[in-house]
Amino acid sequence: MAVETETLETVQALTQSGYKWGFETNVEMEFAPKGLNEDIIRLISARKQEPAWMLDWRLKAFAAWQKMEEPQWARVEHPPIDYQDLHYYAAPKKKAGPKSLDEVDPELLAMYEKLGIPLKERAILAGVDPDAAEGGSRQIAVDAVFDSVSVATTFKETLSKAGVIFCPISEAIREYPDLVKQYLGTVVPVGDNFFAALNSAVFTDGSFVYIPKGVRCPMELSTYFRINARNTGQFERTLIIAEEGSYVSYLEGCTAPQRDENQLHAAVVELVTMDDAQIKYSTVQNWYPGDEHGKGGIYNFVTKRGACRGARSKISWTQVETGSAITWKYPSCVLLGEDSVGEFYSVAVTNNHQQADTGTKMIHVGRGSRSTIVSKGISAGHSNNTYRGLVRMAPTAKNARNFTQCDSLLIGDRCGAHTVPYIESRNLTAKVEHEATTSKIAEDQLFYCRQRGLSEEDAVGLIVNGFCKDVLKELPMEFAVEAQKLLAVSLEGSVG
């Protein structure tokens, strides 16, 4: 099914109103006291049964964080965040054993249903034998993160046969300490930036993926992140390592319950690829964006970075960002390996009072490294949407190449679209090309659609999907479908 044929469904989705995924699951929560200090970090580390080195690592990050100031350079505005007024640890009381799905709270399974997780995956979560699933169809492994503790990990067996490790990072710290120690914090150091340091100090869970040499991961790996309890900041930590010649596609998607208080989300994602390895990382981000008056919504301050350490290795980021009150996110690639490749495909939609400051960094160090950036920003309502990106060619980046295309679309005259690219080249053989445009939906395009019987809103949905096609086609199929609907829902009420 081609992505384009989904437009009809998109149009139908337009008629729905409000935040479709706004609900709260009533699982009893266990909170650590509010506030952030060394004791809380010790508590988190103890709850997670972490080794001493991990606690030391967290404390080091905390010390770094205390010396740092919240960055002010992004084009976002929000009331000051009181970091002492947040819970840094919350765990479902009914401790679900990751080994058995029977222990999963039925409320969680109901939640996945509401989230619209594909049937296949729900079947997986319901305990259907994966090998009995319809033949030939792609399999997806889900590591569901329910607030801070991973409650269910599926497909573990199939993956372990292939030698792939896919588990909550807290488990990896206990089970594979040497691997974690070797890579954790090497792409995003503990003191990298304010939010990364905070995450390093207090992260409670996330995913760990290890693909051994020469292995093509037998299925797409997927994590549904979800913020659930009131006033719990979410601090996910993801680490993906692709050894020589391996391949993995990782999907990350999120929706969050509707509520009024702003919530802080500061995740860190680290990717490492060795010689000839490839990681494809796709995100659909649909945290609660706040209501039409800008009340509530998630603050999404994320640090995502990949290191292409090996020759001919490749990291590809694809993101569709429709949610969050504030998005502050720059998935980046450090292209160290010779002929390594970095890609960034992004659609960012802001409506009402949303603010997005997002983009990428491509740091070219290796000879012959190449990068492509395609960014599509759509602003509507009273929102502000900024592309902020850096392309840096180090003196060693002989014959490196970059191509960047940033397009912005404005819907309505109360919103803003901004483009802030930084280009730094210190190698004469490196080539950098950058193009950016800003426009609105052309009258003739609208007229053409209206004349064929589409309503104005449907026409806008259609045109926006066309505008984003270059990015959407990079998404794995399951996500592409969801993303198209999200785009339309996000822009609801922005025309007419």
Partner: protein, 429 residues
């Protein structure tokens, strides 16, 4: 003596509003020279640090070099010129505008006067700090406001074509100079202003110019910076362009150890036009920064910008360009192109083209390319028997000639071409 110390010693002796100067000195004291103070430099000065400037001490003294010799090196045009030597107006070297005011005739003997209805005044006599600058936001403007002693105020009356006037700065000694200029074109007036600067020694020229182009007026502003390779050149221009008026500027930066050209152009009236084109030719350890902010405040404005850098040696070129479109500025058409040609493995380019858009019915785009000469083009020429060095030179010249096309006046372009040629010879040596 530091700048602030000098200000203290000159207290009461400087012309103009002393309260304004005091406020500027406070602003400069708290801001300091960008890059020379502790902490992170501001975003506007991300790629240019004035640490080397802060470490250099300037003193005004006896001229060390002949102003005439320096002047003779510039590709001057046969039109009236106002010459400033070490920041002070030189009656002797200036060629004045004749009394008929048509701007074509000249008289070496006439005093600096206001012929016809054209009004010319020295800043030293009639200090005019203007209304557009922000000493509190721009440390270099604060420094200028604090220490400005001379400069020129040109006021072209309505519907008056003033032809071409050259405004020339010559530095002959190791001083810091802070010229302050104001250019006003009333409705329908027309002027081509050619600014050139050159000198010998370790000096610092910190110019601030304020430009008003009223309804339907047309200002062509050409600048050639050919300072000594040990000098510091910082120039900040604020231009306000009214309805249907045009501000057409072209800057050629060749000289100076460290150069920063900052232009703030505001399209305040409907159907206003601004062109901010520039070429920077650098070699050795030169650093040149071209920073521009085009503010579209009214509907139907047009802005065009092409900035080219040619970098050899260990030089570093910087381009920062921002197009801002306010809510009211519907139907804005903004375009910005930045190209850099790296000729040496040690050269560096930092480019930051920015769009900041708050109106939906606009057409704004920018493009940037960075790289070396196209290998295929070199091959094409070499396959036709052209030696490598010559093939490269042909291609660089083609790249530059395209940039100079923005200058439509042939005499002016010829003058700039001579400057490019002299850079070329110098670079070969």
């Amino acid at each position: 003596m530091t700048f602030l110390e000098r200000y203290e010693t000159l207290l009461g002796k400087l012309p103009g509003d002393s309260a304004l100067r005091a406020a500027a000195s406070d602003a400069f004291r708290s801001a300091g020279l960008p890059g020379a103070t502790r902490g992170r430099p501001s975003e506007a000065w991300k790629y240019t640090s004035l640490r080397s400037l802060a470490e250099t001490r300037f003193r005004s003294g006896e001229p060390k070099h002949e102003a005439e010799t320096i002047l003779a090196r510039l590709p001057l045009l046969d039109v009236p010129r106002l010459v400033f030597v070490d920041g002070e107006f030189s009656d002797r070297l200036s060629v004045h505008i004749a009394n008929d005011g048509d701007g074509t005739a000249k008289s070496a003997e006439a005093p600096l006067s206001s012929p016809g209805s054209l009004k010319i005044a020295r800043f030293a006599d009639q200090p005019d700090f203007g209304t557009l600058t922000w000493p509190d936001r721009e440390p270099m403007v604060a420094l200028n406001t604090m220490l400005a002693e001379d400069g020129v105020s040109l006021h072209i009356p309505a519907n008056h074509d003033c032809g071409t006037i050259q405004l020339i700065s010559v530095a002959t000694t190791d001083a810091d100079l802070h010229p302050r200029h104001t250019i006003r074109l009333d409705a329908g007036a027309k002027l081509t202003l050619i600014e050139m600067s050159a000198g010998e020694g370790v000096y610092f020229l910190n110019t601030v110019a304020e430009i008003h182009v009223a309804d339907g007026a047309h200002l062509t502003h050409i600048r050639l910076q050919d300072e000594s390779l040990t000098a510091f050149h910082i120039s900040t221009t604020y231009a306000e362009v009214a309805a249907t008026a045009t501000y057409d500027s072209f800057t050629l930066n060749i000289g100076a150890r460290l150069c920063r050209t900052e232009v703030h152009a505001t399209l305040a009236g409907e159907h206003a036009t601004a062109h901010l084109n520039a070429v920077q030719l650098l070699m050795g350890a030169q650093h040149a920064d071209f920073t521009s902010v085009v503010g579209h405040l009214a509907p139907h404005g047009t802005s065009r910008q092409t900035v080219k850098n040619v970098l050899s040696g260990r030089s570093r070129g910087v381009f920062q360009g921002r197009i801002e479109v306010a809510r009211a500025a519907q139907k804005t058409d903004g375009y910005q192109m930045n190209q850099a040609l790296l000729l040496s493995p040690d050269a560096e380019i930092d480019s930051k083209p920015e769009l900041e858009i708050f109106a939906d019915d606009v057409k704004c785009s920018h493009g940037a390319t960075v790289g070396e000469l196209d290998a295929e083009q070199i091959f094409y020429l070499r396959s036709r028997g052209v030696p490598d060095a010559e093939a490269r030179s042909i291609l660089v010249r083609a790249f530059l000639s395209e940039a100079l096309d923005a200058v439509t006046d042939e005499a002016v372009r010829g003058s700039l071409e001579r400057a490019v040629e002299s850079w070329w010879q110098r670079n070969k040596a």
